[in-house]
């Protein structure tokens, strides 16, 4: 029967791991899909007229803010993995299949809905053999790493969005149920799930910092930083139709953090890391990277959750994204 797969790592996962490390006893074969772990902490140059102490404080404050941002958003970013059971004929236990890290996602609400990109799970969505299972891995309390089965709730290929729902496996549920029954303690629903703080993309400004977080294996974070390079960009979607209002950034976006959140300095989600522009399919980031704007996501995802799909009419975009924002002359 499905058993709890809790792995407590030797290192403290609640601290943000800057470089990917493979813990020895977690014997999972995962395909490294070109994940980059670069931390570029911007050090603003001193402007004329500010004294040295001000600048030093500002630099320190910036670093502290950056570190706090990750401490607080860590638990909202999940790993999305593809468990393929067909490779192991004698599989009895759920976790004896081959696990591949395929991307990231983040927790949308306390009901266990996870938002990610359509292209992250499109292969599984189309799979009819029934031998594939989506796993969502997230950090629980005390730094535990928990793996859950997930079901696909909603798909929108023309905006490259997908919603999953985490299913607490039965054993864990029974355990918590009996535990709370015996000890008469109310187990808080949201103890494991930590929904991300949602922001808005309409007041974004080119030049402000942004942070792309991914969590492709469930116990480590890929963090890339950069600035908002451009706004209201058009990018292609898996369905072929264009996605409007995308945020362009020079923070690296690649297979590891695809589906994960793009955050501003306040720790709010401002987009979903989606694509990088490459030439000749080289797969390496060029510094021209894109995220789907959160305002569009916030309009579409509730419908995906409740209805499973959303009409592809453009009225959603027009209502949400409005006309492209213009700069006024200085």
């Amino acid at each position: 029967m499905g058993h709890l797969s809790v792995t407590v790592l030797a290192q403290q996962p609640s601290k943000v791991a800057m470089l990917p490390t493979k813990s020895g006893f977690v014997a999972r074969r995962s395909l490294l899909m070109g994940s980059l772990a670069m931390l570029q902490v911007a050090n603003p140059r001193r402007a004329l007229g500010r004294n040295a102490r001000d600048n030093h404080d500002e630099d320190l404050e910036f670093e502290m803010r950056t570190m706090q941002l990750f401490e607080s958003t860590t638990r909202s970013v999940v790993a999305i993995q593809d468990l393929d059971l067909s490779s192991n004929v004698a599989a009895v236990d759920m976790d004896d299949g081959e696990i591949q890290g395929i991307g990231s996602g983040f927790v949308w609400d306390r009901f266990g809905h996870i938002v990610t990109n359509y292209h992250v799970i499109s292969k599984i969505a189309k799979d009819t053999s029934g031998k594939k299972q989506i796993k969502v891995v997230l950090l629980g309390l005390n730094g535990d790493v928990d793996s859950y089965n997930a079901a696909i709730i909603g798909l929108d290929a023309s905006r490259d969005l997908a919603v999953l729902k985490v299913q607490e496996n039965l054993f864990r549920w029974l355990f918590t149920f009996f535990f709370s029954l015996v000890f008469k303690i109310e187990v808080p629903e949201s103890s494991v799930l930590r929904p991300a703080v949602i922001g808005s993309s309409k007041d974004l400004r080119v030049g402000q910092n942004c942070y792309a977080i991914g969590n492709p294996y469930g116990y480590e974070h890929i963090l890339t930083t950069g600035v908002v390079s451009g706004l209201c960009r058009q990018i292609p979607s898996p369905s072929g139709k264009p996605i409007f209002g995308a945020i362009q950034t020079d923070a690296s976006i690649n297979a590891g953090n695809s589906g994960g959140p793009l955050l501003d300095s306040f720790g709010r989600v401002i987009g979903i890391n989606t694509a990088t522009f490459t030439r000749r399919g080289s797969g390496t980031s060029s510094g021209v990277n894109f995220a789907v704007a959160i305002d569009l996501v916030r309009q579409v995802v509730p419908h995906l959750i409740v209805e499973g799909a959303v009409s592809s009419s453009r009225s959603v975009e027009r209502g949400v994204l409005g006309p492209p924002r213009y700069l006024s002359l200085p």
């Binding site: 499905g2 050090n43 402007a47 029974l174 149920f177 808005s200 369905s239 264009p242 510094g287 002359l329």
Partner: protein
């Protein structure tokens, strides 16, 4: 407690075939014990009926003001983006990046508004195709798009004013109203330091007015320009620079121009974090000349010097042997003597230039470079050897012969 149980029950997916038999038994047992039925989760992607739209629409968290460092960069971009233009070489067929239905026309490059007369500075190689076709001056070579206040881009025909391959720079002119022209403010590149913040604005892959940020990674680099020339003194940066960024500005954290993005080092064709810019001090010297004369006048003397082979035959081992001097030139006025034939038909050697302003010259290329480092009109001191005497000649530089 009941709410918890009911919710958990819904989460058992019945479509998950691979669940082992044991777990089904446990579920069944649980059902029997607790007496509730196991509603099945609906099939793939048909929504979650246990929640309402309000339940799953999160509130938007407000934010305060941007931190001062981010505010500075955002303001820098907003103030300077109007000085950056798109440059499309009209002789090239527009290359459309067809990805699904999204067409991103790949503009060839970026340019910078230089002054209120409508002069636009860009790289030579951005309009290289038009230049190689030999389109003369005052002929339209490119289309330039300016960013206008209401967010629209206005396109103008640009004519060629001047270009120099050795510095990979070109100047175009557009006929635009002064109100639309926002010249860039020019800085200095002589006091740049590795590690200082720099911003690049450009049109990589056709995504216009893209801002990328990085630091000065290195100084005094040799840039292998697309024109096939090596440009010295290049600024290296890790701000992402891609095809399309060429000709665009590299700004310092005060918004002043410190370089013009010209090249990248890459194996994939896209940015690898190694980009190069022509330093603004070189640009500031070259652009006024291109505007005034249409070409760069290299400072020198109207003389011809002997190439190495000839000098060796004539037994001149060091310095530059003067073969001929143009009669009306400043060199002639200064008294520089050329090589000539004597009465008996023998060759009488002319002056051998040994040094320029105390910088010793070993061969003709060094002489050319030493003179080129000056401006036209500068007075220099040549150390000259005539027969067996060594003395100084003062001469005023003018445009060199070649």
């Amino acid at each position: 407690m009941r709410a918890l149980a009911a919710r958990a029950a819904c989460e058992n997916a019945s479509h998950c075939h691979a669940r082992a038999v044991n777990s089904r038994r446990a579920v069944g047992a649980g059902m029997l014990i607790f007496g509730f039925s196991l509603p099945t989760l609906p099939a793939l992607a048909l929504g979650d009926s246990t929640v309402t739209l309000e339940d799953v629409t999160p509130p938007v968290a407000p934010r305060g003001d941007l931190p001062p460092s981010e505010e500075r960069i955002a303001k820098l971009f907003e103030n300077n983006t109007f000085s950056v233009v798109n440059v499309f070489d009209t002789t090239l067929k527009p290359e459309l990046n067809l990805t699904g239905s999204v067409e991103v026309p790949e503009g060839n490059g970026t340019g910078i508004v230089w002054d209120k007369d409508g002069h636009i500075v860009t790289n030579y190689h951005v309009i290289g195709s038009a230049l190689s076709k030999g389109l003369g001056k005052k002929k339209p070579v490119a289309r330039v798009s300016l960013l206008v206040e209401d967010g629209v881009q206005k396109t103008f025909q640009a004519t060629l004013v001047g270009a120099d391959k050795t510095k990979d720079l070109a100047v175009l002119k557009i006929d635009a109203p002064e109100a639309l022209l926002h010249p860039i403010s020019v800085g200095k590149s002589s006091n740049l330091k590795v590690g200082q913040r720099c911003l690049a604005i450009g049109n990589p892959f056709g995504f216009d007015h893209t801002l990328t940020v990085g630091v000065v990674s290195g100084l005094n680099r040799d840039i292998n320009s697309q024109t096939g020339v090596i440009i010295g003194g290049g600024i290296q940066t890790d701000a992402a620079i891609n095809p399309g960024n060429s000709g665009g500005p590299l700004l310092n954290s005060e918004g002043k121009l410190i370089g013009i993005n010209a090249a990248i080092f890459t194996r994939t064709g896209t940015s690898a974090g190694i980009g190069f810019a022509i330093p603004v001090d070189a640009v500031s010297r070259v652009v006024p000349q291109l505007i005034k004369y249409g070409k760069i006048m290299h400072a020198g003397l109207k003389i011809q010097v002997a190439p190495d082979i000839v000098a060796k035959q004539l037994n001149v081992k060091k310095g530059s042997l003067v073969l001929s001097v143009l009669p009306s030139s400043t060199a002639a006025k200064a008294g520089l003597v050329a090589t000539r034939r004597g009465i008996a038909g023998n060759i009488l050697l002319g002056d051998v230039i040994l040094a320029v302003d105390n910088l010793s010259i070993k061969n003709p290329p060094e002489l050319a470079k030493a003179l080129d480092d000056h401006e036209i009109g500068d007075r220099v001191v040549l150390k000259v050897q005539r027969d067996d005497k060594v003395f100084d000649i003062h001469v005023e530089l003018e445009e060199s012969l070649n």
